[in-house]
Symmetry: D2
Amino acid sequence: MELFSQTHAGQYKRKYGNRGRILLKCPDQPGIVAAVSQFLFSHGANIIESSQYSSDPSGGTFFLRIEFDCPDFAGRLAEMRTEFESAAAPFKMEWKITSVTELKKTAIFVSKEPHCLLELLWAWQSGDIVADLAIVISNHENCRKIVESLGIPFYHIPASKENRQEAEEKQQQLLLQYEIELIILARYMQILTKKFTAAHPNRIINIHHSFLPAFVGARPYERAYERGVKLIGATSHYVTDELDEGPIIEQDIERVTHHDHVDDLKRIGRSIERSVLSRAVKWHLEDRILTDGNKTVVFS
Amino acid sequence: MELFSQTHAGQYKRKYGNRGRILLKCPDQPGIVAAVSQFLFSHGANIIESSQYSSDPSGGTFFLRIEFDCPDFAGRLAEMRTEFESAAAPFKMEWKITSVTELKKTAIFVSKEPHCLLELLWAWQSGDIVADLAIVISNHENCRKIVESLGIPFYHIPASKENRQEAEEKQQQLLLQYEIELIILARYMQILTKKFTAAHPNRIINIHHSFLPAFVGARPYERAYERGVKLIGATSHYVTDELDEGPIIEQDIERVTHHDHVDDLKRIGRSIERSVLSRAVKWHLEDRILTDGNKTVVFS
Amino acid sequence: MELFSQTHAGQYKRKYGNRGRILLKCPDQPGIVAAVSQFLFSHGANIIESSQYSSDPSGGTFFLRIEFDCPDFAGRLAEMRTEFESAAAPFKMEWKITSVTELKKTAIFVSKEPHCLLELLWAWQSGDIVADLAIVISNHENCRKIVESLGIPFYHIPASKENRQEAEEKQQQLLLQYEIELIILARYMQILTKKFTAAHPNRIINIHHSFLPAFVGARPYERAYERGVKLIGATSHYVTDELDEGPIIEQDIERVTHHDHVDDLKRIGRSIERSVLSRAVKWHLEDRILTDGNKTVVFS
Amino acid sequence: MELFSQTHAGQYKRKYGNRGRILLKCPDQPGIVAAVSQFLFSHGANIIESSQYSSDPSGGTFFLRIEFDCPDFAGRLAEMRTEFESAAAPFKMEWKITSVTELKKTAIFVSKEPHCLLELLWAWQSGDIVADLAIVISNHENCRKIVESLGIPFYHIPASKENRQEAEEKQQQLLLQYEIELIILARYMQILTKKFTAAHPNRIINIHHSFLPAFVGARPYERAYERGVKLIGATSHYVTDELDEGPIIEQDIERVTHHDHVDDLKRIGRSIERSVLSRAVKWHLEDRILTDGNKTVVFS
């Protein structure tokens, strides 16, 4: 099979060469949209998509995401960033302006179960997910062949409770070397240290195999079976230093019945995990997620 | 049971006294959002919610819905409308500015099956749907008691193929008398004339008991059963002069199996019809629906 | 509106006069189905629907539900029960044979929020739920009118932490007087004593407003909002002496977004609660639920 | 990646060596279940799972599927088949007794879009689908590499309107050579002749990219976009000589909005097609599907 990803990447860059995004959050007050849209208009930009949210119109936080087409965007980007600083300051905005064609450098961490990795690889090859998929890191060897067959470097770093610190140092080195901006834990079954998670705030996306906050921690399918639930789920979230307590990005469920034993729950669950993680990753890559304390604002 | 609707209506008016909405569509071009948001800012208005859509950024139609809070909105509304005319003209906007507390005068048409009517009444009583529910018109008597017990006038107008024109004249007279702005066909089983539908463009919402375009016309559950489908659905749409061909607002489905005979499909279907029609009506009342040819843009 | 329930009840009894059900559980072993189906055949009965489940074919528990039509069933029922005792003994079956037309005497407990009560009343009136709806008991007065208008006795028994025992004694007296077989807690917001729950094992159905085991206990919507979940749910379960820990019968969820504040979650949740409780009650009334330890086997 | 399928196949055969299935349909009458269960009991078999359905208890067709464990099943199978003939004759049963470990010889037909093929390969490798995946036939070359890397023969047979008969003759020859029992059209975009479909009744499973009967025929996503539907779907069905009119096995849908253009519908649709086809194939392979005229009885 030809590498769809390469064809897609080329088409994508040609199609979206002038496409940019503004993301911001700031204290809510009148005039924000007027200021930002006036700024864009002054550059001849056309707003393609705009989403906003206020946690509380009288004194909360305002969130904005705008996608726009701007003539000669690549040439103009640096200047726009400088200029936007002045517009942003009086509103105390946290903001960024990005180019849609600057693909995010991404690493996938995986352990033995390959279903989430395979789904991401497939979505990437078919152009559903647009990223610079730089490396895959695993504490097992079994996925090497499929990863390398797609031209992606595969690193085997043994990891367990015993060598956690050493393993993370090797991982960290690779992340620096490849300038990784997003880490996807695609069923990576090792717990990360606080040092590691603190180094990548809102840049590590995990898939947990339950509808959180039910079944935090280990063996969620076994515990779901024990409890006799009629729905099982999966949750994708940013990783923080509290296990399974980070901001939730996406969740989904499937029905199960008394006929479904633990193995069935795992089989059904794999399908949920695949789609939930894919959606969360896609939204992150498209700059659709802003964090609001321990919650997410998802402009999907 | 006390009439929740009255309590809710009072609370609602106090809470949203300064809340307004702008809805517009016009040819897409840069500067629209800047102009509208500058207009709102000049009146001290704070944007609460904003949604936009462009059918095609290079030359399509642009759709915008903004909900805002504006100090002394009631006093200022007439002036704002006059002033917005100047902002709107160069963009060739079709637009309206509405006050959230001017409830839409609404009529429900119903035949013998009461489930959709009862759902709407319940949603209205509990404050989920906010409307000035002015009249219920039926070609049967069986729902009179429940309607009148809520203080809503009930009109029995016999209607059938034979007296269609005469019945519609009586209906039309009531619609004028009560200044009705929205007609809900809550399983009203009579076909309307072209004259009637043409008099209320995008103001008649119907619930059809299939996932259109499957099973247009009569007896959809029977035909779904014959075809052996594994999903049944319902569709809410604006009524045009082509039967079941108007712009679709909302659809939903439920799973069925070989065990479900026609009566089961009808029972399951009633539940879908109730929720689909409710959502469509809620969105219309909140000015969340704009039409784009024979399609809808729903800012839900 | 005429009382559909009365029409439906009459039709139902005429249609299903010869319809019976066998429910049983016993240690799994070969020959159970052969023995039961031979028993039914010897009475000229035709099996209409049959469902079975084994928790573990090598030494687990076997569950069976059969619905059958038997000529002169009413006349034959007592004899069948006596005779089945001999078939059941060697298999150590727990079993019952019921007549579909012996409607279960049912009580609904409700507090102030009427949405679940109204849904049950509607389902009962329209024939979707077939029960002998004997009484409604509430610690508030606000639902009296709608209940009494349907000809159902309504009892107001004030209940709070302070008078729990006294209130339960009054409730218990009514349950005895009306020979109640099923108690539905339709958003009844008082905690029941162990004495009360122990007196009605697998005969009290509750609706909890979260997807258990997430958000056990009070204020689940508030806590769901705080956690930032993307799905909210409801769970119907049999009540045991451990709060929200009884066997789960049915669960469902709806999607929510960052736009949905606590009030929105409650509004969306009401719709889930209504359908989840209705389904659980329907299945119980149709003898479709068997318990397996703290889980349910639902032959839906 | 190691070939999971091989490990799984071995485990599967060891685990289910004594597992068999009876499938039958016949005119409904009392005594069928008694006869079949007595037959199984006389062989010492334990019923693991049993599902039945009657299209109409008074004179319709009765459908039964039983999964059982029988000591020394392989040795006993031929004898059981002979003996069952006598039990079946008085009831005019169409029936078969199968061994769970006789995997069905399966061919996949695919055109250019690989997503359904890849999903099936993945499900097969991971043991979710248990089949003897004998060959893949395509009118394109692009999937050869992935198929052959799994050790499955890949045949490229150019096919178009012009050479339909010639192509089908080559396909037919391969199907005979490999003794194929199931043909899966995994987005195979050629129309089959009546001769071909008639040769494989209820043995060709297709995935159509709409919720049938909406959008029969070509370009369903384009037509769904034009109609402005709010749900798109996919349908898996047995192929008959009427295009898209065969018995429906499974359907599913996803929500779409006005934001989704044709390309988005196709992307979202791919995900639905994958899961719908997988489920249909899994059920067929597990002998869970019986046909009832132009409908299916699915004992899932």
